[in-house]
């Protein structure tokens, strides 16, 4: 198959899978097989696109002209390929986990869950392979709408309230800020195509206008959870854990920071931004988000809430690194997308396993749980190490490049923020690991073992990936380096 056909297949396959899943509603095993087969197929297709992109090709596919002069089009380039690989690979693992979770907790509406999941992956692949801002916006909105049923899965008042914050903030920022930014870009630049070096270079905009436009983009891309538009992320924790894993690792937040990177590198252009000094405020906002979110995470007792704020913080690592505007930090930002995805999904898998096996949701309840669930907590420990940035876990490498990049850019404040936040991350993760393994469980607790085996299998795979990523780092690194 030609690269163009592969790209089309990558976007269409999950949607077709969604139809199959919907049809298999009455036969759960067939339905689950459909999900797994679609996910495996998607990962295979994405992998087959990889050689072409690594070789320097940028295959494109124009689908149709939606507005005069602007088409819905796909183009495979390094950053997009990185995101696509992460999303498609983790979908398979997440599906395995979901089967265990949904059956283990006897959740209702399972078909709707798997269908929306598959559709979310269509949107994610479309986003990853988008060739211009309009295509990106189209799939970005589709992702928001398709994940709403997932967030409100339980259908109770709490889910409804969480869904409202989720939808309200994401649609509010995308329609209210991102859309005007895109229209303005079209009006100023005459094109919306992602171009290396940016499309606003020759638009002759004054520095303040560029800065304002950048602000519209950064806050308009609400999925990147820059404060103060981050509230949707903790609100979305009402969802079942596989959904949280999807949100935090596979698709939604990754779509956000991916879009941020695309905008900075391919719409504005690193040169333009550093010449006009329009992005000077961005490291400050990102830095503030990192620290503030870490502090909230420290004080959160609910495990998923702590993980949510940890994600807010980690996402701003990506934004911070991107805003330093040196090639090394941009590569580090891209790498961190992959690293954080693998690490965070492990943590969420562990949280879900703890809930399914022991019914526990608070950090304070986790004393001694490591003895009863060694695989789960072991994986948790690995994920935590990665996010803190301790070798040999993958997180060390992206953090290392970020430190180097900040030093290269001479941005001492960024260095300070990175250092302090590493300490804070350790402060909110290590005690959990410590309590799990080294403290005795409270007396009179019912015995329980590990979670159902699909869940344990999934989290073992992702933990192993976290450890193995540095050795397989050639590919993501090559992709990250090829961005600029």
């Amino acid at each position: 198959m030609s690269p163009a056909q592969l790209m089309a297949a990558a976007v269409i396959l999950p949607a077709a899978g969604a139809v199959l899943i919907a049809l298999a509603d009455r036969w759960p095993n067939v339905r689950e097989t459909a999900t797994l087969a679609t996910a495996a197929g998607l990962f295979g297709i994405t992998l087959s696109l990889l050689p072409a992109v690594l070789a320097g090709e940028r295959p494109g596919l124009a689908v149709l002209e939606m507005l005069p002069g602007i088409a819905i089009a796909l183009r495979a380039e390094p950053l997009g390929m990185l995101f696509a690989l992460v999303a498609s690979g983790l979908w398979f693992v997440n599906s395995v986990y979901s089967i265990g979770y949904m059956r283990g907790n006897d959740e209702p509406h399972q078909t709707r869950f798997y269908v929306c999941f598959a559709l979310a992956l269509t949107a994610t692949m479309g986003l990853a392979l988008a060739a211009n801002l309009l295509t990106l916006f189209l799939f970005y909105e589709m992702l928001t709408l398709v994940t709403w049923p997932l967030v409100t899965h339980h259908g109770d008042a709490e889910a409804r309230a969480g869904g409202r914050v989720y939808l309200g903030l994401l649609l509010g920022t995308s329609i209210g800020l991102l859309l005007p930014a895109i229209v303005a870009t079209w009006a100023f630049a005459g094109t919306l195509d992602f171009t290396p070096g940016g499309i606003l270079r020759d638009a002759g905009l004054p520095g303040a206008a560029v800065g304002a436009l950048l602000a519209l983009y950064m806050f308009g891309i609400g999925k990147a959870a820059l404060m103060p538009v981050h509230r949707w992320l903790p609100a979305a924790m009402v969802a079942p854990t596989p959904v949280s894993a999807l949100l935090h690792a596979v698709a939604v937040v990754k779509a956000g920071v991916f879009a941020v990177l695309k905008v900075i590198v391919y719409v504005f252009g690193v040169q333009t931004l550093s010449e006009v000094r329009a992005a000077d405020w961005l490291p400050t906002v990102a830095g503030f988000t990192i620290l503030a979110a870490s502090i909230v995470a420290l004080r959160a007792d609910n495990l998923k809430r702590r993980l949510a704020y940890s994600t807010v913080s980690q996402l701003s690592y990506v934004v911070l690194a991107a805003s330093l505007l040196v090639p090394l930090s941009i590569a580090a930002a891209a790498l961190h997308i992959a690293v954080h995805a693998v690490g965070k999904i492990t943590l969420f898998f562990a949280a879900g396993a703890i809930y399914t096996a022991a019914g526990k949701t608070e950090v304070s309840q986790l004393a001694g749980i490591g003895r009863r669930m060694p695989w789960t907590m072991g994986a948790f420990a690995v994920g935590a190490l990665s996010l803190i940035g301790i070798p040999p876990a993958a997180g060390f490498f992206s953090k290392w490049f970020m430190f180097q990049g900040a030093a290269l850019a001479g941005h001492w404040v960024a260095l300070a923020v990175l250092s302090v936040s590493t300490l804070l991350t350790a402060a909110y993760f290590l005690p959990i690991v410590h309590a799990a393994f080294l403290r005795a469980p409270p007396p009179g607790e019912p015995e329980h073992g590990e979670a159902p085996w699909p869940m344990v299998a999934a989290l073992t795979i992702t933990a192993a990936a976290t450890l193995a990523l540095p050795f397989l780092a050639a590919v993501p690194l090559a992709l990250a380096r090829a961005i600029l």
Binding site: L64, E65, M66, L67, P68, I72, L134, F137, L138, E141, M142, L145, P149, T152, G155, A159, R160, G163, R164, L167, G168, L171, G172, I175, G176, L177, L179, P180, V183, A184, W186, A187
Partner: protein, 494 residues
């Protein structure tokens, strides 16, 4: 030979179908004639639009009396576009109407309904195609009188008062229009629109002409329900039979917008409207008021029909906002939203008609858990609702794009912020339905499992599919709108 007579046939066929339906006295036969007439008009409108796109405007002299003395039918880029919309909606609603109206009207009145329906379609099509200002009034009254009757046929007794109020306000509006045309006739001695356009430039700044502009503006604003002259609309839409609401919501106000566009840009010309009188500023102010207040009021409504009626007032505000921008992209946005809103609201009211049939009414207390009972209807409302919000991939997005583009190009950032901000209010009232239908538990008032009949669901989903189609393939809608905008701004050189 018939092709040359097409401009006349578009109007004459529904017009003749009306007395035929009356004479036949049987509901089913009357319905069949009405549907056939609407389908014919739709086919004719498509042919005309194709011809205009290829070879430019068509001029047809009625009765072979040459203009400007005789009445002329004129099909150009703008009127062809509106013809397609009106006849298309008429052709889609007619098959829907059979089951819907049969449930709401007594059997012996059905043939009267279809008589009025044909008259209304003929009137609206005539308003669009005619090139004579007074002839436009005649067709306007044909359409209006028949719509007063159609609304009064609603089951609820409040439909009578709603129809009466619409009658009074609509007649005042039409009379204002006639006053305006009278003043123009006094000053130029002609009623032909093209001839008026040729004769006005010299005397454009005189007081009678400016007064005529003002009268026509107010008259048409009453008809298109521009804030604050919209008070008749919520009641009329809420209490009329479902098929009537769907038809009128998608067409009547749109044709009045067309008349306004025709007079503003073709007759008076951009210069008079923009520079001599502050029409853009007035239109902008009223449009903003319409969008904000009507959207907010819509959020708190207890019934889905009323909610959608207020939403219509807000969406008409978007159209007049585009007119107020008086730029190429603004006008393109206005004209394309005319079309997009027509199909979106048509789809929504047709689906709500299905709910009204199954549940007895469309109040929110009957909509809880509707997704389980009527999954296709609920899904259709969600998709059309997304078009109201302006999510990419739906027709509504295309309109919003052009409106925001027009605002950005004019440097009016606050206006762009307003357009997108008000879309968020639309999220609030669309999501009220989504939460009620999908997240709430069914109550005793919710209908049992069972969709609306196929004859009602199919036309509705045809329009829903159109919402999505025209969100991706804008070659017809946006292109036609752009051509119309260029034509209008170019002085309407005919």
């Amino acid at each position: 030979m018939t092709l040359a007579q097409l401009p006349a046939l578009v109007v004459v066929v529904p017009l003749v179908a009306a007395p035929l339906a009356l004479l036949l006295r049987r509901g089913l036969a009357a319905w069949a004639i009405a549907t056939a007439a609407c389908l014919f008009s739709f086919a004719a409108a498509l042919l005309l639009a194709g011809q205009v796109a290829e070879s430019g405007a068509i001029s047809y002299a009625l009765g072979s009396w040459a203009p400007p003395w005789g009445i002329e039918y004129r099909v150009d880029a703008l009127s062809a576009f509106v013809l397609v919309l009106v006849s298309g909606i008429a052709a889609v609603v007619a098959p829907f109407a059979w089951r819907s109206v049969a449930a709401e009207l007594p059997r012996d009145q059905l043939y009267l309904f279809y008589t009025m329906y044909c008259l209304c379609v003929a009137g609206l099509l005539g308003m669009t195609i005619t090139g004579d200002a007074f002839n436009l009034f005649v067709f306007m009254e044909i359409a209006s009188l028949s719509s007063y009757v159609l609304i009064a046929l609603g089951r609820d007794r409040r439909a009578l008062l709603a129809s009466y109020q619409y009658l009074v306000l609509g007649t005042i509006g039409a009379t204002f229009y006639v006053i305006g045309v009278g003043l123009l006739y006094l000053m130029t001695g002609t009623l032909n629109i093209a001839d008026l356009a040729a004769r006005l430039p010299g005397i454009a700044a005189t007081r009678p002409v400016l007064a005529a502009l003002a009268f026509i503006t107010v008259g048409m604003s009453l008809k298109l329900a521009l804030f604050p002259l919209h008070l008749w609309l919520p009641n009329a839409y809420a209490y009329a039979p479902s098929a009537v609401t769907a038809f009128l919501a998608a067409t009547a106000t749109k044709v009045s917008v067309y008349v306004l566009l025709r007079f503003y840009f073709t007759v008076f010309g951009v210069h008079t409207v923009v520079e001599v009188l502050p029409m853009p500023q007035i239109l902008l102010a009223l449009s903003i008021a319409a969008i904000l207040t009507a959207s907010l009021v819509a959020v708190w409504q207890a019934g889905l029909k009323r909610l959608l009626a207020y939403s219509s007032v807000a969406q008409i505000g978007y159209i007049t906002l585009g007119i107020g921008m008086a730029s190429r992209d603004g006008l393109t946005g206005a004209v394309v939203h005319l079309f997009n809103h027509g199909i979106t609201k048509g789809a929504l009211f047709l689906l709500v008609g299905g709910i009204a049939l199954r549940a007895g009414s469309a109040n929110f207390d009957r909509l809880r858990g509707l997704a389980r009972a009527m999954p296709l209807t609920s899904l259709g409302i969600v998709i059309a609702g997304l078009s109201l919000i302006g999510v990419p991939g739906t027709a509504g997005f295309v309109s919003k794009w052009y409106l925001v583009l027009g605002a950005v190009e004019a440097g009016r950032w606050w206006l762009a912020a307003l357009v997108v901000g008000s879309s968020l209010i639309a999220v609030a009232y669309v999501w009220r339905f989504v939460e009620a239908a999908y997240l709430a538990e069914p109550t005793a008032a919710t209908p049992g499992r069972g969709e609306a009949p196929f004859a009602m669901l199919a036309p509705a989903w045809l329009l829903v599919a159109a919402c999505v189609w025209f969100g991706f393939d804008t070659s017809f809608s946006a292109e036609s709108a752009r051509r119309a905008a260029v034509l209008l701004l170019g002085g309407g050189a005919r």
